[in-house]
Point group: C2
Chain length 318, copies 2
Amino acid sequence: MAQDEFAIIEQYFSNIGNSAGPASVGIGDDAAVVDTTPGNQLVVSIDTLIGGVHFSPDTSPADIAYKALAVNLSDLAAMGATPAWFLLSLTLPKFDSSWLSQFSNGLRQTADLYSCQLIGGDTCRGELSVTIQIAGTVPSDQYVTRKQARPGDLILVSGELGNAALGLAHKKGEVELPEEHRSKCLLALNRPQPRLELAIFLREFASAAIDISDGLQGDLAHILQASDCGARISRVAIPVNSWIKQQDAYQYALGAGDDYEICCCVAADFKTEIDAWNSEHPDCRLTAIGEITESGYFLRVGENLVDLITARGYRHFD
Amino acid sequence: MAQDEFAIIEQYFSNIGNSAGPASVGIGDDAAVVDTTPGNQLVVSIDTLIGGVHFSPDTSPADIAYKALAVNLSDLAAMGATPAWFLLSLTLPKFDSSWLSQFSNGLRQTADLYSCQLIGGDTCRGELSVTIQIAGTVPSDQYVTRKQARPGDLILVSGELGNAALGLAHKKGEVELPEEHRSKCLLALNRPQPRLELAIFLREFASAAIDISDGLQGDLAHILQASDCGARISRVAIPVNSWIKQQDAYQYALGAGDDYEICCCVAADFKTEIDAWNSEHPDCRLTAIGEITESGYFLRVGENLVDLITARGYRHFD
């Protein structure tokens, strides 16, 4: 039974993702070699998921693999990029062939689903953690950052916010979620969908974008800071499930993390294009929740304006 | 005092490495954007160093930063690549401004020394570990793998082997190293020099190369396996310090790790070029230790031939 680093890589991690991918040299050498394409730029990101911090110990290996890749894919989506390849650094407390099989199968399915090739990696012994470094491509200078939001831009979010946080709260026993919401919320927690279909839309129409990993309130604040402007958003406009609406539990949508939906800013001139997007993509609807202003950061709640200027999302070292 | 992820990245990790580097978008967005250069391929690698596994808890933060980057640079060197940029994922048990300052200063010095720009990253809370993903470039199709060694090729190694392992053994109290060897061995352990100067030589003359991270014996075996050939090496030819020679302690050079020297195979026709390299690079001498054969894997020790076919270097899951 394979127990050393090289055998683990060979047995579990070769041929993950499209084998006709961009790598001239893939897994099994000191480094991988990838072709770059003229007229494109490379978009790269790295994210680590740690057992007990980013996922609970009882999370299935396939779900861990899925999420580790999905959160990186979500970063690419927010930049307007198309996935190309990724590297994996996997730290495990001990050799466990059943765990590795499930993990590598989950990774393989996810890599196939999003057409992204595993081209290299590293395995170590230690506390369970998964680091994925991903690369995508974007036509030169069409990438989308957080920096170009302008007063008057509409603020849009994809999908529904708060489901993952609610799924986590249910799992922890903090809320008793009715059965009709459970599977959707647990799916949002364990299998967040990176919004890669939005990349083309963002490249064409968005002035700024971010993926919502730490909560809308804090992540939109990053756009405001990077773009040096303000925002006014409306709580009632935030797309949430009916339980959050009924319970007035918007903290799950505003202050909690793990949504991996996209928040973007689009000039109001593009309303027609937004409507066209929504009619063609009912599963990835964009909802306008407010607009970019010169300064300040406010949330309209009924007749009141709540000052969000000191709003903070989830911080890893708080 | 900065304590959250975003402030840590801003305060400690912005502007590390050449600011005129390849990134159009650097630290502070969902991902970084890098320009790719026509006629070049990208060479990418990822390596994780874990506290208590890859370095002892008393290692200085600057030495950890140095080594985390150096081991990745060493992978690039072995492929014949020139460093371009890197991403950092840093996991820390707690916020510690003194540790972070020393770590980021060490990283900055190393990045400057080897002209490699930090363009993005991630920080998490957990057991101390440092993952670096590095990218370099190589003129298209001039990369060097482990696969093309041919019978008759000379087997060469750079520098001196075993010093890092000996430094570690001394630190652990397993050997009493005479004072004249200590500083060199501890330097080899904490500040291994990635042999980037060799990249051009390898591109031009080497049929195969690997960086020696797990011990010569095991790492050369990787070349033999990938190239489907054998080797005969001579123990007396292995470049080691005088203590190893006197003590007949070649296990430090053969079976221990962390050398980060290069082992490469070069056709015997290029003896003149090897000599020219050595006279021009006295600090990065290449020493011939044997030759590639059709099959088998033997070490000459005096009059005897030791069969190394079952030889194994350090394995992370043994």
